[in-house]
């Protein structure tokens, strides 16, 4: 069952220019899905997560339509044929 990642513009240099990455994996959680993404594209995963494996504070991850920040975070279950979107938060200065 594939998992589809949406990769935002600033990170596409680290994903061979792709906005969408499909992985044939069956992760139980978002953390496992990001591990798989990091195995293929470490430059993407390493900028979504910090050294401690925590989601950076100004990055939002959506599993389907839901932002995991307000749910189970990296423990969010991943359903079949799911899209995981990586989006920069609306922040800046």
């Amino acid at each position: 069952m594939p998992v589809h990642f949406f990769v935002p513009g600033p990170l596409r240099d680290f994903a061979e220019g792709r906005s969408r990455v499909d992985l044939e994996i069956s992760p139980r959680t978002l953390a496992e899905a990001l591990d798989a993404l990091g195995a293929k594209y470490p430059g993407v995963a390493r900028r979504v997560l910090d050294e401690r494996g925590e989601v950076r504070p100004h990055v939002n991850l959506f599993v389907g339509p839901e932002c995991v920040r307000f749910g189970e975070g990296l423990a969010t279950p991943i359903p079949d044929d799911c899209e995981i979107a990586i989006l920069p938060a609306v922040s800046g200065g």
């Binding site: 390493r46 401690r52 950076r56």
Partner: protein, 404 residues
């Protein structure tokens, strides 16, 4: 998989003997270049547009022409990038070069300082980061390791962040005693190692911490910047959060040397390339206001080791100026007479090509300037930098002769 270098727009062409200003801002980095005369400046950039850059460095050792920069994205974190062609292309590794080990429980917030080692160690680089820690590379920046001695220091958990964060912002090598190294962190103060970084001791005796209950603590001082001349590396000058200090014994003791400045609060400090007695500062009025005293933007210079300070104002705004100069936004080149440069939080870049006697505006409407460093580019065959001798250059000799 290897990632191709990012190509940057608006490059500048650098020639032998050019002066290059590495300018970091909250919205990217710029390179300003001029020929040896330093009358006209050409600008390249912005590189890393939209990302803040608090640290850059030029590494001209061992035949290199490498510029380091530390862009930080609010979203994607901080990283260390390098250019070997003066900003046309920048290498950007997949996995950032500097990262805290898992055992530390920390994550990199920003990179505040990039310092090249001595000429006899052309592959050594040091980085000061936030949260306060020191990283070292022995392979010209390919790989980095956390200095465990400082990280495990019992004082570290008690260091408190200043306005800029808990940052290690100053690294001073010692060409005479390579095993000796100084760092400064806000707010922790000055620390020194005499065994190459295995052990560290606080070196803050005499620096008053007006903002703490105990006014003369062993550590906790809010040191803003420390400078030293490479030929006299145990004489240190220090800009504190209130207080100008000098140490003549490698930081074992400090004495106040504010002698005549309108405010002893400020951030930036820079030392002359040839004269270990000449230091530049930019005083700011109080730690609440942080603008030039009396609305007059003045650089102050001492020629006598901080026994006295002279204002340098010609060409700078002298009325209603509410600008601010941050800790790494002042720099001096190695020319004779020395060029002095500083950037402001209102996005102005000023230059003096006569040791600070007069100033001209090089650029305005830049993003807020966080960092300025001047470098002189040498042809590759002559690229090995030398530790400048502690003797006055031609301009200084003429000045002293005239004074005599």
């Amino acid at each position: 998989m290897p990632k191709p270098p990012a190509v940057s727009p608006n490059p500048v062409t650098i020639r032998d003997r050019d002066i290059v200003l590495l300018v970091g801002t909250i919205k990217g980095a710029f390179l300003f270049r001029s020929d040896h005369a330093r009358r006209k400046w050409e600008v390249g950039g912005p590189y890393f547009a939209g990302r803040s850059v608090y640290a850059m460095a030029y590494d001209g050792r061992a035949g290199r022409h490498r510029i380091w920069a530390a862009p930080k994205s609010l979203h994607w974190g901080a990283e260390l990038c390098a250019s070997d062609d003066f900003g046309r292309t920048w290498s950007r590794p997949e996995v950032p070069r500097i990262a805290f080990p898992e055992s530390s429980g920390a994550s990199l917030a920003n990179i505040w300082q990039i310092e090249a080692g001595g000429d006899d160690e052309p592959d050594r680089l040091l980085c000061g980061v936030e949260p306060s820690a020191l990283f070292e590379s022995r392979d010209a920046g390919d790989s980095w390791s956390l200095n465990e001695g400082l990280w495990n220091h019992p004082h570290r958990p008690k260091w408190m962040p200043g306005g800029g964060g808990l940052c290690l912002h100053t690294i001073l090598t010692n060409p005479v005693r390579p095993e000796r190294l100084f760092i400064a962190t806000s707010t922790g103060g000055v620390y020194r190692t005499d065994d190459g970084g295995r052990t560290w001791e606080a070196r803050n005796r005499g620096i008053h911490a007006y903002f703490l209950k105990e006014k003369d603590p062993e550590f906790g001082q809010c040191v803003h910047k420390v400078v030293r001349h490479p030929a006299k590396p145990d004489r240190l000058f220090l800009q504190h959060h209130f207080g100008l200090y000098r140490s003549d014994d490698g930081g074992d003791s400090w004495r106040e040397r504010k002698n005549g400045v309108p405010s002893d609060f400020g951030f930036a400090m820079a030392i002359h390339p040839r004269d270990p007695e000449t230091v530049y500062i930019v005083p700011l009025q109080s730690d609440e206001f942080r603008c030039p005293p009396e609305g007059k933007l003045r650089v102050y210079r001492t020629r006598d080791g901080a026994r006295s300070w002279k204002p340098l104002a010609r060409g700078l705004p002298q009325k209603d100026c509410y600008d601010t100069i941050l800790r790494d936004a002042l720099s001096v080149d190695r020319e004779d007479p020395a060029g002095v440069y500083f950037g402001t939080r209102d996005g102005r870049l000023y230059a003096s090509r006569d040791e600070g006697e007069s100033w001209s505006l090089v650029a305005e409407d830049l993003p807020a300037v966080t960092f300025v460093r001047a470098a002189t580019v040498r042809a590759r065959a002559k690229a090995r930098a030398r530790v400048p001798a502690a003797k006055p250059g031609g301009a200084e000799r003429r000045r002293r002769k005239k004074a005599a």
